[in-house]
C-alpha cells in the first residue's frame, strides 16, 4: 500500500483555508485608490487548504528525501558534511534575521563586525588579500572572479580573449568564463589526473586571460606541479583562478594564495558547512590578491578611519569596480552560518577537519580499490574517484551502482563526472563521518560488486526500497510536464 503524497493542489477544497491572516481588515474603500483596470481579473489558483494540511503535506514530503541529517551522503565535490544546528540558530536570531539591508549602518554594527571579520578570516584561511561576500554561490563567484580578471587585463590595455580550463573541470567553469565574454580552451588532463604541463604550455599565449583550476582537482588529487604552473601562467601575464569547491581538503593545510592563485572563489555551502537546502542557498565569496582588489563588486565594507572601538560602514566609491553582481550584500544568512562555523573551529579545528577529511577518504579508498578500478593509485586528498568499468563489463553501470546504494540507505556518489574517468564514481566521505559509518558503506559497496557478479539484472531495476522506482528521465524531457495541469502533456 504505497502511499504517495498527492500534490498540494490535489488537497485543495474550495472554501477551505488556513487562518494566519485576518479577514477583511482592509476596507473596500481603500482599494478604491487603485483603478479597476489595474486589478487582477481572476484570483491566482493557489491551493485552498488548512494549516494541518500544509503541515502534513510538507512533513511527509520531507520524509521522502535522503539528506545529511538522515543518511551518509558521499556525493563527491559537494562536501556533504554535517551542518551544525547551532549555525542555523545563530542565523535566525532576530538580530540577524530581522534587520533590513537599508538600515543605517549605525544600527547594524553587529552584522557589519561579523561580515568584516568573516572577510578577514577568509583572507587568512586562503592567503588572499581581499574578499567580497556578495556572490550567491560558486558559479556566481566564478563569474564575478573572471569579470575582475577581465577588468584587470583591460586596465592593462588588453582584456585578452581566452580562458583555459582542464577537461576535468566543473561545467560552471567554462560556462562562467563564456558569460564573462571569453572563449574557452579546454586542455586534456594527464594520465595521472593532473594538469598536463605540455598541454598547458601549448595552450598558453598572450591572449590567455586566466586558467581556472580546482585544487585538489576533481579526481581528488593535489596539483603537484602547482608551483610550476604558476610560473608558466604568470610568465605569460595570465592569471591563476582557483575554484574553491574542494577547499575542504586544505583548511589550515595549504593556502591557494600561497600557491600563487590570483583570484579564488569559495563555496561556503561546501567547505564551511552551510546547509545545501536541497540546492541552495549557498554563498560564493571571491578572494583576490591586492592588484585586483579595486575591481571587486560594490559596496565594499570598510572600517571607518580612526574609529575606536571600530565602526564599520559600506563604501560605494570604487570607480574601478565591476559593479554589483546582485542586490544588497550577499546571502547574509548563509554568511552568519559560515562565520559561526569558523569561530567554532579556530585554526586548530579547521586543520583537524581537513586532516579528518583526507584520512576518511584514504581509508575508504583503501577498502574499495580492490573491488572497483582505481584509476589513480596512491593516496588521495579529501575525495577520490573509482571507475565502474569492471562492473560495466559485467553488465552494471555506474548509474546502477548508484541506484542500488540507495537501497542500503546511502546516498550515491557523484557519477559520470569528471568525464575523463569512465563509469566514474566520485566519493567524498567528509570528516564528520565516523569510521563505523565508512565501514558500513564499504560493506555495501562490496556487496553490490558481489551482486553484480552474481546477478547484474538485479541492479538494473534498483532502487527497490525508495518511495518510487527508477524515474524515466527521457520521458520527462520528451513529454515535458513542468507544472500541474499544464498544457505540457505528462
Amino acid at each position: 500500500m504505497k502511499t504517495i503524497e498527492p500534490l498540494i493542489f490535489e488537497k485543495s477544497v474550495p472554501g477551505n483555508r488556513a487562518s494566519p491572516v485576518p479577514e477583511s481588515v482592509a476596507s473596500g474603500e481603500s482599494l478604491g485608490a487603485l483603478p479597476r483596470g489595474f486589478l487582477r481579473q481572476t484570483a491566482p489558483a493557489l491551493p485552498e487548504v488548512s494549516e494541518i494540511d500544509v503541515v502534513r503535506h510538507f512533513t511527509r514530503l520531507s520524509q521522502l528525501n535522503f539528506s545529511v541529517d538522515t543518511n551518509f551522503y558521499p556525493l563527491g565535490s559537494c562536501t556533504m558534511k554535517y551542518n551544525p544546528k547551532i549555525n542555523d540558530r545563530a542565523a535566525t536570531l532576530p538580530g540577524f534575521a530581522a534587520i533590513h539591508p537599508y538600515q543605517p549602518d549605525a544600527s547594524v554594527q553587529g552584522a557589519l563586525e561579523m561580515l568584516f571579520e568573516l572577510e578577514r578570516m577568509l583572507c587568512e584561511i586562503t592567503g588572499m588579500d581581499a574578499v567580497t561576500l556578495q556572490p550567491a554561490a560558486g558559479a556566481h563567484g566564478e563569474f564575478t572572479g573572471i569579470l575582475c580578471i577581465r577588468s584587470y587585463h583591460e586596465s592593462r590595455g588588453n582584456r585578452r580573449k581566452k580562458v583555459i580550463v582542464p577537461d576535468s573541470s566543473h561545467g560552471t567553469n567554462p560556462s562562467s568564463a563564456r558569460l564573462a565574454g571569453y572563449e574557452v580552451v579546454t586542455i586534456p588532463s594527464g594520465r595521472d589526473g593532473c594538469v598536463d604541463l605540455s598541454a598547458l604550455e601549448k595552450a598558453l599565449d598572450e591572449e590567455v586571460a586566466a586558467i581556472m583550476l580546482t585544487n585538489p582537482n576533481t579526481v581528488g588529487l593535489f596539483e603537484k606541479d602547482i608551483l610550476k604552473i604558476r610560473e608558466m601562467v604568470h610568465a605569460k601575464g595570465a592569471l591563476l583562478y582557483y575554484d574553491g569547491a574542494n577547499l575542504n581538503a586544505l583548511l589550515g593545510l595549504a593556502r591557494p594564495g600561497d600557491m600563487g592563485f590570483d583570484v579564488i572563489h569559495l563555496n561556503l555551502h561546501k567547505s564551511f558547512s552551510t546547509p545545501h537546502g536541497g540546492g541552495g542557498p549557498g554563498a560564493g565569496p571571491v578572494g583576490v590578491k591586492k592588484e585586483l582588489e579595486a575591481y571587486l563588486p560594490t559596496p565594499r565594507l570598510v572600517r571607518r578611519p580612526g574609529s575606536d572601538p571600530a565602526q564599520f560602514q559600506w563604501d560605494d566609491n570604487r570607480p574601478d569596480s565591476i559593479g554589483k553582481v546582485r542586490s544588497f550584500y550577499g546571502n547574509f544568512g548563509v554568511l552568519v552560518r559560515a562565520y559561526t562555523y569558523i569561530r567554532a573551529h579556530g585554526a586548530e579545528g579547521l586543520r583537524r577537519s581537513s586532516r579528518g577529511a583526507i584520512i576518511n577518504a584514504n581509508y575508504l579508498k583503501a577498502k574499495l580499490r580492490e573491488v572497483y578500478n582505481d584509476p589513480y593509485p596512491g593516496p588521495c586528498m579529501h575525495e577520490f574517484v573509482l571507475s565502474g568499468e569492471k562492473q560495466k563489463q559485467q553488465g552494471s553501470s555506474a548509474r546502477d551502482i548508484a541506484k542500488r546504494l540507495l537501497d542500503f540507505g546511502y546516498h550515491a556518489p557523484t557519477i559520470y563526472w569528471p568525464m575523463i574517468v569512465k563509469e566514474c564514481l566520485m566519493i567524498e566521505p567528509t570528516e564528520t563521518e565516523s569510521r563505523k559509518t565508512l565501514d558500513g558503506f564499504a560493506e555495501a559497496m562490496v556487496q553490490i560488486a558481489r551482486e553484480i557478479t552474481e546477478d547484474p539484472k538485479k541492479l538494473a531495476s534498483a532502487p527497490y526500497t525508495m518511495p518510487v522506482q527508477r524515474m524515466d528521465e527521457v520521458k520527462a524531457a520528451r513529454q515535458l510536464d513542468v507544472r500541474f495541469d499544464g498544457q505540457f502533456g505528462g
Binding site: 491572516v21 550567491a136 564573462a180 600561497d258 545545501h276 549557498g282 550577499g330 581509508y363 520527462a476 524531457a477
Partner: protein, 455 residues
C-alpha cells in the same frame, strides 16, 4: 572544537589501515613549504561560548523587533506564518543537495514542481524555473536570455523605475557581452508608453519594466506591452509577487517573462539575503530558460514521480554553451515560498495585498498632512511611496532611527541629487497605531530639525 567524530588515535589507526604510516604520507604531493601555514584566527569556541558570542553580535543590531521599520525598496518585512520556519527548517529539506538522485529526493523534487506551478499561477505564465539567486541577478539572467534569442537584437531598454541595484547588476552582467543598455526616464514616477515608443525598435531585444516600480508606482503595463510587442521585443515584467494577490498578472497584461524578487513570499529580510529569484515565461521560451527545471514523469512501474529535466540546457552538460552558469540556486527559499503560498491561499494573499494598499494609503495621507512633507507623485501605488521631506531625508531618518523608527530609505542613497526625498513602505505588519506614532514622531523631528537648520 570540530565535528570530527574519530579520535586522534582512531585517525592514526585509519591511516595505518589505509596502508600508510603517517598523515604526512597522504599529503606528499603538497609542496613542503606550502604546508601548515599559521592561521591567525580567533581561538576556537565551544558551542556554549558560540551561543553567547552570536547573541552578543546579534544584540548589536537594531532589529524590527525593537524598531518600527518602514523600509522597503526591494526587501519587505511581511508577516511569515510560523509553519514556514518550522517546515523549511526540517533537516531532510535543509541538508539535502540538489536532487540529482531523483528516487532519493522526491520530497525536494515535488516541492519544486509545486513551486513552479504556484509561480506560473501567480504570474499567469506557462513555465517557471526552480529559482535563481535573487531579483537582481534574475533580471540580469533574463537580459542574457533575451539577447540570445536573436543576434540582430542587441539592445535592451530598462525603465528608470526598475530597482537601481537591478540596473547595476544588469550592467555588470553585460560587461562580457556586446549590448546597448538604454534607460528610460520616468514622468510623475511612471514609465510613459509614448516615451517607450520613441525608444523601442527592431534592434531591441527586450524591455524591462518593474511594477509596482521602485518608487512604488503601479505602471500601466498593458499599454507598455502593446508598444513593446509592436516592435517584436520581449516584454520583461518585474512584479512584486505579493502585489499579484490583487494586481493584474504579467500573463494577463501580456508579458513574455516575469522575473523578480521572491523574498516577500515568506522570507525574512535578513540583511539582504538569502532571497529568491523567481523566473517565469511563456511556453515558447522554455528551452532557453536559465536554471534548473523539475518535471513530472513516471517510474518503471508507471507511477508518477519527479526528476530534474531539460538538463541539456545546463552547464554540467553543455559547459560553455549552457543557457546560464547557475548550478546551486535558492531551493530552500523556493520551499519557503511554496509553504507560504499554500498557507495563504488565494484569499489570504488577496487579503495581505489589500491590507498593504489600505495601510500604505492611510500612512501616505497622514504623512501628507505633516507640515513640510509632501507626496511628489500622484499615481496609484501599492505599498510604498515617495515622500518629499522639509529637511534632508538622511538627517531625518537618522534622527528617527535614534527613536527606534526607521522612517524610510533616503533616495540620496541611489541618487545624490535627491537629498530631500525618501521612500516609505508600509506592509500588513504595521497597525494604524504604529503609523500614527510614526507620523507623530516625524512631525516632531521634522519641526525640530527644520528649526535647527533655520536657527
Amino acid at each position: 572544537m570540530d565535528y570530527v567524530p574519530n579520535s586522534d588515535a582512531q585517525l592514526q589507526s585509519m591511516v595505518e589501515a589505509s596502508g600508510f604510516r603517517t598523515f604526512e604520507e597522504l599529503i606528499a604531493s603538497v609542496p613542503q613549504d606550502l604546508r601548515f601555514p599559521e592561521l591567525k584566527l580567533p581561538k576556537p569556541l565551544t558551542e556554549l561560548e558560540l551561543q553567547r558570542e552570536m547573541k552578543r553580535l546579534a544584540s548589536r543590531n537594531t532589529s524590527s523587533e525593537q524598531a518600527l521599520s518602514f523600509l522597503g525598496a526591494g526587501a519587505y518585512e511581511h508577516f511569515i506564518p510560523t509553519v514556514v520556519d518550522y517546515l523549511s527548517g526540517r533537516g531532510e529539506f535543509y541538508t539535502a543537495y540538489t536532487p540529482y538522485q531523483a528516487e532519493a529526493s522526491q520530497g525536494t523534487l515535488q516541492v519544486i514542481y509545486e513551486y513552479q506551478t504556484l509561480m506560473c499561477r501567480l504570474t499567469g505564465l506557462d513555465v517557471s524555473n526552480a529559482s535563481l539567486y535573487d531579483g537582481a541577478s534574475g533580471v540580469a539572467e533574463a537580459a542574457f536570455m533575451c539577447l540570445n534569442l536573436d543576434p540582430d537584437r542587441g539592445k535592451i531598454i530598462v525603465s528608470a523605475g526598475v530597482h537601481p541595484e537591478y540596473l547595476q547588476t544588469i550592467r555588470t552582467y553585460a560587461r562580457g557581452i556586446n549590448v546597448r543598455i538604454e534607460v528610460l526616464p520616468l514622468a510623475d514616477g511612471a514609465t510613459r508608453p509614448e516615451d517607450l515608443a520613441a525608444g523601442v525598435d527592431t534592434a531591441t531585444a527586450a524591455v524591462f519594466v518593474q511594477s509596482p516600480n521602485f518608487f512604488g508606482v503601479i505602471e500601466d503595463m498593458e499599454s507598455l506591452g502593446d508598444v513593446i510587442h509592436g516592435k517584436g521585443a520581449q516584454f520583461v515584467a518585474i512584479p512584486n509577487p505579493i502585489s499579484l494577490g490583487l494586481l493584474r498578472a504579467p500573463g494577463e497584461y501580456g508579458a513574455d517573462i516575469a522575473v523578480g524578487e521572491g523574498q516577500p513570499l515568506g522570507m525574512p529580510v535578513s540583511y539582504g539575503g538569502p532571497y529568491l529569484g523567481f523566473f517565469t515565461c511563456t511556453k515558447a521560451l522554455v528551452h532557453k530558460i536559465p536554471g534548473r527545471l523539475v518535471g513530472r514523469t513516471r517510474d518503471t512501474c508507471g507511477d508518477l514521480g519527479y526528476c530534474l529535466t531539460l538538463q541539456a540546457r545546463e552547464q554540467h552538460i553543455r559547459r560553455e554553451k549552457a543557457t546560464s552558469n547557475i548550478c546551486t540556486n535558492q531551493s530552500l527559499m523556493a520551499l519557503r515560498a511554496t509553504i507560504y503560498l499554500s498557507m495563504l491561499g488565494p484569499r489570504g494573499l488577496h487579503e495581505i495585498a489589500a491590507q498593504n494598499v489600505a495601510l500604505s494609503h492611510y500612512a501616505a495621507e497622514q504623512i501628507a498632512r505633516v507640515e513640510g512633507c509632501r507626496l511628489p507623485l500622484t499615481r496609484p501605488f501599492f505599498n510604498e511611496f515617495v515622500v518629499k521631506t522639509p529637511v534632508p531625508a538622511r538627517v531625518l531618518c537618522e534622527e528617527l532611527a535614534e527613536q527606534g523608527i526607521f522612517a524610510g530609505v533616503p533616495l540620496s542613497r541611489f541618487d545624490p541629487a535627491r537629498t530631500d526625498e525618501m521612500l516609505v513602505c508600509v506592509t500588513e505588519t504595521k497597525t494604524r497605531e504604529d503609523i500614527d506614532s510614526y507620523v507623530a514622531a516625524l512631525r516632531e523631528v521634522a519641526r525640530r530639525v527644520e528649526e535647527g537648520v533655520k536657527g
